[in-house]
């Protein structure tokens, strides 16, 4: 497998918006003074009548999106993940989610791979916040293709969708004919000794780990659930039954994200050992994305070590 990093998941948002603008007359895009980082400024150039830069005002952006959606528009809102889900949490909760409005919250710069901006800008609890809201769907794309497909698909999904996007260039996981389906996991590699369930940048790390483990005759299955909510229960239950050992991997706190979602499912329906790889209840810090992946124990080597310890 080749691990060339060519595009970021945030680029999928940018490109999907341009296509949506062309195809769907009722798409309206909002941003909060970060349109050059999220890429929505290109939509603004193409469709100036349907793009509004709200300035640095995340709370009222979400309220405005809700009003637009309540009037028949499908809204996409951009910002950084930490501000979109944090500053505007209650607007999302009590207006967008409570009213089940068609607002697709697609912030970029999620997780620790934001890099040198540091802990204030690295969202480590956004999945957790969004997952706990009724009506909210939570999608964590692994590459550009998946991100673009998810953003486009969100247009026809009823109610709000949270799509978590990243800043760094990431390897290509999927081919161009990829089709997004809400709540449908992908099995990316078969194996019977252990299953690694990974989302976002951790999908590539999981696949790399599985390659390394194979050299020692350890066969790891790799699953990308893509949507953390709704979760593809059946695929995960079958994998847990087959392997008896589940590793979750996410660029997010181990509290409340993918690891929690999988643990909740298995503890109720098929108690299985689950080991969560993620940020271990710490804030982020400044550093390059690659350094931080090591610092927080999120690399393929960390996954390999953990699995060898367990087997």
């Amino acid at each position: 497998m080749i691990w060339d990093c060519d595009k970021a998941t945030r680029n999928g948002y940018r490109d999907a918006l341009l296509e949506l603008g062309r195809e769907q007359g009722n798409v309206v895009v909002l941003d909060c003074d970060l349109s050059k980082s999220t890429g929505s400024h290109l939509f603004g150039q193409e469709y100036p009548g349907r793009f509004f830069n709200c300035g640095i005002a995340e709370q009222s952006m979400m309220g405005t999106a809700a009003g637009l959606a309540a009037s028949g528009k499908v809204c996409y809102t951009g910002s950084f993940a930490v501000f979109a889900t944090g500053r505007a949490y209650e607007q999302i909760r009590n207006t967008i989610a409570y009213c089940n409005l068609n607002v697709n919250i697609c912030p970029t710069h999620a997780g620790i791979t934001v890099g040198p901006d540091g802990g204030s800008h690295q969202s480590i609890a956004d999945i957790s916040l969004m997952r706990a809201l009724p009506n909210m769907k939570v999608v964590v794309p692994a590459d550009y293709i998946e991100a673009k497909a998810a953003v486009k698909a969100a247009y026809s999904i009823d109610g709000p969708v949270y799509i978590r996007l990243g800043r760094p260039l990431v390897p290509k996981i999927y081919s161009e004919d990829y089709e997004f389906q809400l709540g449908k996991a992908r099995i990316l590699r078969e194996g019977g000794d252990v299953v690694i369930i990974a989302v976002g940048v951790m999908v590539a790390e999981a696949l790399k780990a599985a390659e390394i483990l194979a050299r020692d005759s350890i066969n790891a299955q790799v699953i990308n659930p893509i949507t953390i909510k709704p979760l593809d229960d059946e695929v995960i239950l079958v994998a847990a039954a087959k392997t008896g050992l589940v590793i979750t991997a996410e660029e997010h706190s181990i509290i409340g994200g993918l690891g929690s979602a999988v643990s909740e499912l298995l503890s109720e329906r098929l108690p299985t050992k689950v080991v969560r790889i993620g940020v271990r209840d710490k804030f982020g810090t400044s550093g390059s994305p690659a350094e931080l992946m090591k610092y927080y124990g999120l690399t393929a080597a960390d996954i390999v070590m953990k699995i060898k310890d367990l087997l």
Binding site: D31, D33, L34, S35, K36, S37, H41, N53, C54, G55, I56, A57, Q59, S60, V82, F83, G86, R87, G115, P116, D117, G118, G119, S120, H121, T285, S286, G287, S288, E291, L292, Y295
Partner: protein, 287 residues
């Protein structure tokens, strides 16, 4: 532990030269730090350099040897992305070794991309998420009142940042509680990330907004050091109201190719750009 500084005895011309020298050193360090780090925010750091200089080298009551001195004035950098200007000023004031500045934004550094109070002495509060500094300053000013301390609390806000709702909630609070030990400063450079503040979401007329909110407003040229000092000093004399200093500034001030350029909000100079910037700031090379 009252600090009587040399600056107290200076003539206006001497004070101006003294402060101008400090501001120049700070501007050079901003450029160097961000170049070495490879990322960061030069524009908003340079636009605030004279305001920060006036505060740390004349107006603020503080003691670099005792950063937690209870009688100190407080400064809150609400526009936390301008961390380099604050780090450079704190180093020059003697809070830590200047050579540590070159670790900006690297793994394990005390000099985080945005100020971190748990890592670095002299940082009163961690910032970086815009819009929160004024409310925090309210809390500090309130605490000083409760404890009967005559500390003044200063905070620096961006003009783009003033689009955040929390700023205006805090504006109501400060006036309601007559926080006359609070001085807020707006770094009015008319630029944010996506363009001019007046094009993205206009905040003008800003002075009449703040006076309508019950604040005493003073307008000042944010690059005239003596004017900033006297504005800050007259702000301290105001009673019964919080004070807003509207400082008109130029983003990127001091480096011609960065001045008033939106593209230099959050971009590091190359080595070559650093050289020409330093030349404009009076030095040929990294000394």
């Amino acid at each position: 532990m009252e600090i009587i500084s040399e600056e107290e005895k200076m003539s206006p011309a001497e004070l101006r030269d003294f402060l101008a020298e400090k501001a120049l050193l700070i501007r050079r360090d901003i450029i160097k730090m961000i170049t070495v780090a490879g990322s960061g925010h030069p524009g908003g750091s340079l636009s605030a350099a004279d305001i920060i200089t006036a505060l740390y080298f004349k107006v603020l009551r503080h003691n670099p040897q005792a950063p937690k001195w209870p009688l100190r004035d407080r400064f809150v950098l609400s526009k936390g992305h301008a961390a380099p200007v604050l780090y450079a000023a704190l180093a020059e004031a003697g809070y830590f070794e200047r050579r540590e500045l070159w670790s900006l934004r690297s793994l394990g550094s005390r000099f985080q991309g945005h100020p971190d109070m748990l890592k670095l002495p002299g940082i009163e509060i961690s910032t970086g998420s815009l819009g929160q500094g004024l409310a925090i300053a309210n809390g500090m000013a309130l605490a000083a009142k409760i404890d009967n301390l005559d500390s003044t609390v200063y905070t620096l806000i961006g003009d783009g940042e003033s689009q955040e709702g929390e700023i205006w909630e805090a504006a109501l609070f400060a006036a309601h509680h007559r926080l006359d030990n609070l001085v807020a400063i707006t770094d009015f450079n008319n630029l944010q990330i996506d363009g001019r503040v007046s094009d993205i979401k206009n905040v003008c007329p800003i002075d009449s907004k703040w006076s309508a909110f019950g604040w005493h407003v003073i307008c000042v040229d944010g690059h005239n050091l003596l004017d900033i000092v006297s504005a800050l000093e007259s702000a301290r004399a105001v009673s019964g109201k919080p004070v807003m200093l509207e400082a008109t500034t130029i983003k990127g001030k001091g480096v011609s190719f960065m001045e008033d350029m939106v593209g230099w909000h959050g971009k590091a100079p190359t080595k070559e750009e650093m050289k020409s910037a330093l030349k404009e700031l009076g030095v040929d090379e990294w000394e």
